[in-house]
Symmetry: C2
């Protein structure tokens, strides 16, 4: 590990993205142990063995590091959800799996890594860019499944697609958003199945 | 206002329920000004001019006073919602109004009285008896509307009534529960109409 005074910049030094990855990895580890809120950039600098100024060359603030970690977590959730959706053949089943996988992935993030969940909570509260983009992509995935179901004749086509997408997104949102999920633990077991069935009844042609 | 040392107990003193009402009224006023969390029973005693011991004769804790205030607020929301439902003739319209009136009443409680909302937040977080009873009565009202719609032929009857009730309750819950509502302000305008329509599509026979 480098000393705080060493600036590892040289023609053969690590590439920028490697340094960024190194900072993010160390910050993930540190945040997950001591919490995001309580950690300062100075703390991180000490742990990584970089100077604070060197970290600021790569990330303009603690939040920028948090955003990167958050984006990584959300990408993980997304790829789980996409994989679950891709496994199913029929649009109704895709919708069920999307709901179930999203809830389970969000729950796992919460229970496995309480301290990292704190980042997700700050992210959701302060509407970080990574969260807005994640929500947008979730609506996009949902829209694609709905469109497929309309084309296959599984879903009704009278309601405007954007309205259906937004309404179903609102039904799913309490189980996707970490801020809300923490108040829904009593229901996370039953909700995905109950709500998917309701949504599918609403989609019947 | 009575001095802290005066015990207003006499054969012709106020009835118990009058004293309770007086404590609740003073506490409501005080909490809404200084917040529920920050106020102690000693503070209340000072303001009302009762001794702390005298207050404890009527309420075993600050939470017991808070529960009473909370129950009053919830009763107000409930009577607004019931009135809105009663105004409509047809079950589908009753359902729409129930959703809209619940969201509006919860929002009004939030925006008019931020400090009292704090009580509702504690209540929802700690699952106070008054909240559990309110949730139960909300599900009952919903069930009655659904039953009426099944009898009138407006709603489908294949899905077990308890399942339908619970699923629709889960759709409405983020807009009824003050803890969750505070994270849904972006959607409170559009959500009641969008979600009522989705729910009604799911109920079509």
């Amino acid at each position: 590990m480098k000393k705080a005074s060493t600036y590892p910049i040289s023609p053969r030094g690590p590439a920028d993205h490697e340094v960024r990855d190194q900072i993010v990895a160390a910050a993930t580890e540190h945040f997950s142990r001591y919490g995001y809120e309580k950690t300062t950039v100075s703390d991180l600098a000490k742990v990584i063995g970089f100077s604070k100024a060197y970290i600021y060359k790569f990330f303009e603030s603690k939040q920028a590091i948090g955003e990167m970690i958050c984006a990584n977590c959300l990408r993980e959730i997304e790829s789980e959800v996409s994989a679950a959706v891709a496994e199913a053949d029929q649009p109704p089943d895709k919708l069920r799996r999307m709901f179930k996988a999203s809830t389970e992935a969000s729950l796992r993030l919460f229970s496995q890594d309480r301290k990292l969940y704190e980042i997700a909570t700050s992210a959701a509260k302060e509407r970080w860019q990574a969260v807005l983009a994640y929500e947008e992509r979730t609506r996009k995935l949902l829209r694609d499944v709905l469109l497929e179901g309309r084309q296959s004749g599984d879903f009704e086509r009278k309601t405007p697609l954007d309205e259906t997408t937004m309404a179903i997104y609102l039904v799913m949102r309490p189980y996707l958003n970490p801020l809300i999920l923490q108040y829904s633990f009593d229901y996370t077991e039953a909700a995905p199945a109950l709500l998917s069935s309701l949504v599918l009844r609403s989609l019947s042609p």
